[in-house]
């Protein structure tokens, strides 16, 4: 690949760390210690004995748990090695996980959540001792009123999907309280809205109606009119949807649903391209939510923590999950549990605080102009990529050709696949060879051989060019030497995994003990060390 390496000057001669690291149980060495637990004071020991004689015998564990025994440094090394085998956004030009808004997570914000004045506060402390955290929650509430135009916010939702569950709970309760002679049990959503818009509403008993896209990639007003009825409870919709195309009829959608007697929830999990540009209020929504781990810079933590702040209009403000945060005339903040129609609690305590604190600091750093610039540059970057990627052989951006997109694009490798046999999965695995991640799409794959790119505001033009060059190179390889792509990854941590066990109850293994039970013979045969 010498010539290719020269041709693609921006690409790195990359190889990910590969430690060939054991499974932690294989490091077990009887007698080793990772940590010593402090003993109780002598006087306590005298007074309580071993303590366990007080415990009913039927509740005493007979055998210690089968955890491994490993010295401290080896535990550290193990997890550090695993971390090196993980490609975080801090290392990566992480534009390949469209819809998820992988942006810079400012390091200074980590200092705040790792400060004991934030991290070591108990939720049942007297509110006078938590005024700092309550102040941030209250101010965030005020910020989100401005960002959305809605009137009251709850920090209970633990994620975007959980915010959808909260919206569905409010929807259900509202219709229970406003019986109009109809059974309102249908929830309308769209195929390019997040799967949870459908799935979380279904949990609460709603029947799901899913609108599909028309040729322009958008759901149509006519299609919506056909499905609304006296059974319509509401509409949950993203905009822009996963395609990145802004739905200009969005206010007509909300009007139609309102006319039919339903309520509208705006899935603004990702609002990165529209901060200060367009809002839920003007589009006619009754509810909306924002993912703080997306637009508002919370690090994604390998799959969480997350946070989905949920706002509603005045009409619904007493329906929110409790508590909300309020301010007294004397300037002190308090948790308000007294909402007349509240759906109750949907999470323990008051919200995913560390995620909220980071987002608070991020908003404070940027201010109004900064937030608007975030949106503008995210859109600039996205359309720059759109222009470049659609010039790559085999790649396309289905729907609304020639139109601009907001913050992301769902592309397709359909042509590449048809012409070379190299599909989006192969490209994704080959991207790993250059230190990149590329995601396909939510299921089902409406766009054939999909990939979804969202550059956010965080990456420089040079970095975007590097990522584009990765896609360009793989396209070239697909046409010239497809086997290289189809056998990728070559420079990643591991080679292609054997998926054959994952749907087989006899073979799948979700824990090490299950693996040993089902596959011990194989380990013995292969002379694999089970313990250290």
């Amino acid at each position: 690949m010498e010539s290719l390496n020269k041709k693609y000057k921006r690409l790195r001669n990359f190889h990910q760390a590969k430690w060939d690291e054991e499974i932690i149980f294989q490091l077990h060495n009887p007698g080793e210690k990772g940590l010593i637990v402090n003993r109780v004071e002598t006087q306590i020991e005298h007074m309580t004995g071993d303590g366990i004689s007080e415990i009913p015998e039927s509740m005493l564990r007979e055998q210690k748990p089968g955890l491994p025994e490993i010295g401290q440094m080896r535990v550290l090394k193990h997890f550090l090695r695993l971390s090196q085998q993980n490609l975080g956004a801090d290392f990566n030009i992480d534009v390949g996980q469209g819809t998820c808004t992988i942006k810079y997570n400012p390091k200074i914000n980590e200092c705040f959540v790792r400060d004991p004045r934030e991290s070591d506060v108990h939720p049942m402390q007297d509110e006078s001792t938590c005024q700092g955290t309550l102040q941030m929650l209250y101010e965030m509430h005020e910020f989100f009123k401005e960002i959305s135009g809605l009137d009251r916010f709850s920090f209970q939702p633990s994620s975007g999907s959980h915010a959808i569950l909260n919206m569905a709970s409010i929807l259900r309760k509202y219709h229970e309280d406003h019986v109009d002679g109809h059974q309102r049990d249908e929830l309308i959503t769209t195929i390019f809205s997040h799967p949870s818009d459908a799935a979380a509403a279904k949990v609460l008993g709603f029947k799901i109606i899913t609108l599909h896209q028309e040729e322009n990639g958008l759901p149509s007003v006519e299609a919506l009119k056909r499905v609304v009825s006296e059974r319509t409870a509401g509409l949950f919709i993203t905009n822009p949807e996963d395609t990145g195309i802004y739905n200009p009829d969005i206010d007509e959608f909300t009007a139609i649903v309102h006319e039919a007697g339903g309520l509208c929830g705006y899935d603004q999990a990702n609002a990165n391209g529209i901060l200060g540009i367009t809002r839920a209020k003007e589009a006619g929504f009754d509810m909306c939510f924002f993912n703080l781990h997306k637009t508002f810079s919370g690090p994604h933590g390998s799959g969480g923590p997350a946070a989905g702040v949920l706002g509603v209009t005045k009409k619904l403000q007493d329906y929110l999950a409790v508590p909300v945060v309020d301010k007294r005339e004397d300037g002190t903040y308090f948790l308000n549990f007294d909402l007349a129609h509240s759906i109750g609690k949907t999470r323990q305590f008051y919200g995913p605080i560390p995620v909220i604190v980071r987002a608070y600091a991020w908003i404070r750093s940027l201010g109004v102009e900064g937030l608007e610039e975030v949106a503008r540059i995210a859109v600039l970057n996205n359309n720059y990529l759109l222009s470049k990627i659609t010039k790559i052989r085999g790649a396309s951006s289905p729907y609304s050709a020639g139109k601009h997109r907001i913050e992301q694009v769902r592309y397709s490798w359909d042509r590449l696949y048809k012409e070379t046999g190299v599909g989006t999965h192969d490209v994704a695995l080959r991207m790993a060879d250059f230190g990149f991640h590329m995601w396909s799409s939510h299921h089902p794959f409406i766009v054939p051989e999909p990939f979804t790119i969202e550059p956010t505001e965080s990456y420089s033009k040079e970095e975007l060019d590097e990522y584009i060059e990765g896609l360009q190179r793989i396209s070239d390889e697909a046409y010239a030497t497809p086997e290289i792509v189809k056998r990728a990854p070559h420079h990643s941590v591991v080679h292609r995994v054997d998926h054959s066990v994952s749907d087989d109850p006899e073979k799948w293994a979700i824990t090490w003990r299950a693996y040993l039970r089902k596959h011990r013979d194989r380990l013995v045969e292969e002379d694999v060390q089970i313990e250290g």
Binding site: I55, M59, L87, Q97, M124, I208, G304, D498
Partner: protein
């Protein structure tokens, strides 16, 4: 193109760069890229936000001024529990939790993100040892969600619609379960004996019927009581065709029997106590665990990472198990829903369990029992106070102040003046208990702290 300011987080604000990119796109301004948003939907006003603090130092000063308005469990002696508690967080937990590679990754493939797949598989495996179950999920939001989902899983597994719920579960969890399950299921409370704090078996038996999907109880209960008749309870419920679901504080399981060993079919709980900080109750993670039976596994909504091999001999690989049961796979046709939850905290707990090992978990369990037993004896001896429940308890127990002539609220206010966070006031959440408080004792509380609590209470109650 005027550009007043380039923020450190937004490199392409540099005017020359902007210009080049606009040229590539073929537009003359960023505004043109918004041309699909109709004017009537444009927000032409200006958001009212406080002035930006783009200087990192200014931001830090601002944040420190706010944080200094908090008091924490080091400045005050804390005896607060109730679902989260002040446990020791080993340095390596903080180290791994803060690693850029884990902290800032998200949803990579099991190639470039092999590390998080393995770490989460190991989390599942370590929890599996603690819980004595072969299946553990990638955690959900919190114990409340884990319990809610466990109940809905039981409904689907048994095809029955009534769940019996112990009246001594956490009040937040009760409320969340109610919201999550009420339309789909009938929720029937199960009484506890007012003296022992144990489940009232007669009441339980009288409520079992053909439609019982199962029972959900917590052990130790929200108020710390150890239920020693789990085996019997599970048997009753099984006989009626239901499942036994037990919520448990995992830090108890080095010393207390895991639910699987007294007949539970599903265990759930929260991992905050395993190496995670308090964060004002904002650092939670809900685990769910079961046997490895297809009919159980296929009802999980969560991601379940499985271990497998790769095409290269000797290499471990990881994969989603039975992905098409999830809403990621099949939207509303999946089991409940799944999304981003709390993977980082699970990785942190995996580190904790790896450090503690079998002896560490056993020792911490014993330590917590000894500590709370000492406090129990001391508090019981105070004039006017009584222990609300006669049964053995784990790290928490209820003190009844009814005969002291003072309300818990006022007692706590007086303790606060002496830099002590007293027990949780139960008068709102459990009115039938009267004037009671739930005290929690952990390895972070020294004997001196407990002694000071007792002597301060003595003064306050005098």
């Amino acid at each position: 193109m005027k550009n007043k300011f380039v923020h450190p987080y937004i490199p392409n604000s540099v005017p020359e760069v902007k210009a080049k990119m606009l040229e590539e796109i073929g537009v003359s301004s960023i505004e043109e890229l918004y041309s699909d948003i109709p004017e009537r939907l444009r927000f032409r006003d200006r958001m009212k936000l406080p002035e930006a603090l783009p200087s990192e130092l200014a931001l830090k000063q601002h944040m420190h001024a706010i944080l200094s308005r908090n008091k924490n469990v080091h400045e005050y002696d804390s005896f607060l529990g109730g679902g989260v508690a002040n446990h020791f967080v080993p340095a390596i937990c903080d180290e791994i939790n803060g690693r850029s590679e884990f902290l800032t990754a998200y949803a990579g493939e099991p190639y470039e993100d092999h590390g998080r797949f393995q770490a989460l598989f190991e989390y599942q495996s370590l929890m599996g040892e603690l819980l004595d179950f072969e299946v553990v999920n990638v955690p959900t939001y919190d114990w409340a969600q884990a319990a809610s989902t466990s109940i809905r899983m039981a409904q689907r597994i048994t095809q029955k619609d009534e769940i019996l719920v112990s009246e001594l579960i956490g009040p937040d969890r009760r409320s969340a379960i109610e919201n999550y399950c009420k339309k789909a299921m009938k929720i029937t409370p199960v009484r506890h004996d007012r003296t022992s704090g144990l489940i009232d078996l007669d009441d339980l038996r009288s409520k079992l019927n053909d439609n019982t999907a199962g029972i959900y109880f917590e052990n130790p209960s929200y108020v710390g009581v150890i239920e020693h008749r789990g085996e019997e309870i599970s048997q009753f419920v099984h006989k009626a065709g239901g499942l036994s679901i037990v919520g448990v504080d995992p830090i108890s399981l080095g010393i207390l029997k895991p639910p699987a060993q007294y007949g539970a079919d599903i265990a759930c709980g929260d991992i905050q106590t395993l190496g995670n900080h308090l964060h004002y109750g904002g650092c939670l993670g809900g685990f769910i665990a079961t046997r490895d039976e297809e009919k159980f596994v296929m009802e999980y909504p969560s991601r379940l990472f499985g271990i497998t091999k790769t095409e290269m001999e000797g290499e471990w690989g990881f994969d989603d198990v039975a992905y098409n049961r999830t809403s990621f796979g099949v939207r509303e046709k999946g089991k409940e829903f799944v999304g981003t939850a709390n993977a980082l905290y699970a990785i942190t707990s995996a580190v904790y369990l790896s450090l503690m090992g079998p002896d560490g978990m056993s020792e911490i369990g014993r330590h917590l029992i000894q500590k709370s037993l000492y406090a129990k004896k001391k508090l019981e001896a105070l004039a006017g106070t009584e222990l609300k429940f006669s049964s053995a308890s784990f790290k928490e127990f209820v003190v009844d102040f009814s005969n002291t002539g003072k309300r818990v609220k006022d007692i706590n206010a007086a303790l606060l003046n002496r830099k002590i966070f007293g027990g949780i006031d139960l008068s709102q959440s459990f009115p039938w208990m009267g004037n009671c408080a739930l005290f929690c004792f952990t390895e972070m509380n020294t004997q001196a702290q407990i002694d000071r609590l007792v002597s301060t209470l003595e003064e306050i109650l005098a």
